[in-house]
């Protein structure tokens, strides 16, 4: 019997044969925390009785969720994390460097790695072929202390991607469509594995968007095989030597196969208050919005800001709206500046927020008012997610967000691209 990608990586890292349903202890290549889960992780780590990290160079601390901090308690949490990183000798990415998952992709994640992060969107690094999954603070504390953690090897769903995106349709539309099909718990405890001839045309940025949202269908990981695009991305980021070919066997056992023809997709939205409440934009257009938010670990990369910048170049946001842009990392911000997108967006009326999570989780930089509607490129629209349970969040691609902020209402981006 052939192996799925999930079985292959967990077999390598547990030094045995890992089959779906087995429980294995796997070596952890990288463990990381961010600033809202990290303080608890550190307290758990200390409580567990361990003094030193198993592998200091394989631990990373990110200050991205409250960045810069809006409250004294969070500032004190940042102090705790900086001290911990200093003492433990592990790298720290301070306020303003960017979102943990983007920085993992730019600097750390490699095919075949096992990565655990105290953040549910750790799955993002599956785009690079890493078995990367989110865990709570206790599990990450133990991974930091022991350099290993237990996993139940997941069953896998195979997502077969064929065809090419039509104009105005992007990776975000695909992943929203998929979540609508699978449901918010449809892939609970499973791995999503992507395959198909469409991958040859799918940039790393698009793959990161898709892998990022695997968890919104309940999945433990969202895995892409490694290929030329993976190799080129690693080379561009100074890690060409970390490339290794990695894919599932043809005879691997999949619990479900979900074929998607990209050419038949259209712009999609998640409606409040559930990510799997998915509809085509065409059916929802006309809903007034007060805020558009382009950023996050889902859609805060250069390609995303470029799409928005091009749509809004020479145009203006609707006077009844705010347009927030939060680049996913400092590198993204610099590149978006060099290419002139930041200029176009500021001229169109955008507010540029520092690289980080910004308005995504409702603790600062764009908290919504009662009854307000936000069109966001993030991955979650749960009630209260952006700081106010009386507000409504729609999720869409950066193109849909840009088109909508121009008209002041939910708008099909195909009118503008």
């Amino acid at each position: 019997m052939g192996q799925t990608l999930a079985e292959r990586i967990l077999s390598l890292k547990s030094h045995g044969e890992a089959k779906a349903g087995d429980v294995v202890i796997a070596d952890v290549d990288l463990a990381f925390v961010q600033d809202t889960t990290g303080p608890l992780t550190i307290r758990q780590f200390k409580e567990s009785g361990f003094e030193a990290l198993a592998k200091p160079q394989q631990a990373v601390v990110f200050l991205d969720h409250a960045a810069p901090s809006p409250a004294q308690q969070l500032s004190n949490d940042h102090i705790l994390l900086r001290r911990f990183a200093g003492k433990a000798g592990c790298p720290i990415y301070d306020v303003g460097e960017g979102i943990c998952h983007q920085l993992m992709a730019e600097n750390f994640a490699n095919p075949g790695d096992v990565i655990v992060g105290a953040d549910s969107h750790t799955v993002t690094a599956g785009a690079l072929g890493a078995f990367a999954t989110g865990m709570g603070s206790s599990d990450v504390a133990v991974a930091l202390a022991l350099g290993k953690i237990w996993f139940r090897v997941p069953e896998s769903f195979l997502i077969e991607l064929n065809g090419a995106f039509p104009r105005g349709v992007y990776a975000k539309d695909l992943v929203l469509y998929l979540i609508g099909q699978i449901g918010a718990d449809g892939a609970n405890y499973r791995a999503l594995e992507f395959r198909g001839e469409a991958l040859a045309r799918m940039t790393m940025s698009q793959r990161l968007t898709i892998a990022n949202m695997a968890v919104e269908a309940g999945a433990k990981v969202g895995l892409f095989p490694s290929d030329k695009i993976t190799r080129d991305f690693l080379r561009e980021h100074g890690r060409g030597d970390k490339y290794r070919p990695l894919s599932a066997d043809t005879g691997a056992n999949y619990e479900q196969v979900i074929p998607v023809n990209l050419s038949q997709l259209e712009p999609m939205l998640s409606l409040p208050h559930a990510v799997d409440n998915v509809r085509p934009v065409a059916q929802v257009k006309g809903v007034q919005i007060q805020q558009a938010f382009i950023g996050t670990c889902t859609n805060g990369r250069l390609e995303d800001i470029a799409v928005a910048g091009e749509i809004l170049k020479g145009k203006k946001r609707h006077p009844g709206t705010r347009l927030l842009i939060a680049p996913a990392s400092r590198q993204v911000l610099i590149q978006a500046m060099e290419k002139g997108h930041i200029q176009s967006l500021i001229e169109a009326g955008a507010i540029i927020l520092p690289p980080g999570c910004a308005a995504c989780l409702g603790l600062h930089q764009g908290v919504l008012g009662d009854g307000e509607v936000c069109l966001s490129t993030a991955n979650r629209n749960f009630r209260g997610r952006m700081g106010n349970p009386e507000a409504m969040i729609y999720l869409a691609s950066p193109a849909t967000a840009a088109a909508s902020v121009m008209k002041g209402e939910i708008t099909d981006p195909r009118e503008f691209v």
Binding site: D77, S120, G136, S138, V142, D185, Y189, R380, F382, R383
Partner: protein, 179 residues
């Protein structure tokens, strides 16, 4: 160490209660002050929840059992979610299904979580739970429910009262390799 055989009353919640519902991100500044944070448990999604749990304990040592529908704890990995549920006085959680990270976090906090057909349980029903056997007797309706078994490593962690006590005791996962 948690009680693995317990009797208590059901407090029902619906489907898709997310970790943002359990403890919204806007309270992130309280995450290093757990007693304060716990005061906001389910504040927007089920404002009467905390007072129901409190009323049960005041009414004579009764245990509270949180009974949810599908996909309990979806969303963020914040372990603070099962922590504040525990701090509010809940002794066990039942759900039709639970999101992976939440399930693992709850066990890591020594909080029993069992998955069963919770449609068969009404708000306020008297329940008797045996966590190890995975059996739930609904004393109000007379129905018995059985639950799937969790992996042995999870029950071992739960029996020690959570992952940190487990690691304090064993210093490692045991047994070491595949099992």
């Amino acid at each position: 160490m948690p009680d693995l055989v317990l009797k208590g009353k059901a407090i029902k919640l619906g489907d898709n209660v997310s970790t943002d519902d359990i403890i919204p991100g806007r309270f992130a500044h309280l995450r290093s002050n757990l007693p304060e944070l716990a005061k906001h448990v389910l504040e927007d999604a089920a404002p009467e929840f905390a007072s129901k749990v409190k009323a049960l304990s005041v009414a004579g040592g009764g245990k509270s059992i949180l009974v949810a529908g599908r996909n309990l704890g979806l969303g963020s990995s914040r372990e603070h979610a099962p922590m504040v549920i525990k701090m509010s006085g809940v002794d066990a959680i039942l759900a039709k299904s639970a999101a992976r990270i939440f399930f693992r976090n709850a066990i890591n906090q020594g909080m029993p979580v069992l998955l069963c057909d919770t449609d068969k349980i009404g708000d306020g029903d008297e329940l008797e739970i045996n966590v190890i056997d995975g059996k739930i007797a609904n004393l109000t309706s007379g129905i018995t429910l059985s639950c799937g078994k969790m992996p042995p490593i999870m029950s071992a962690i739960l029996e020690e009262g959570g992952l940190i006590p487990y690691i304090q005791k064993h210093k490692d996962f045991k047994p070491q390799k595949h099992y």
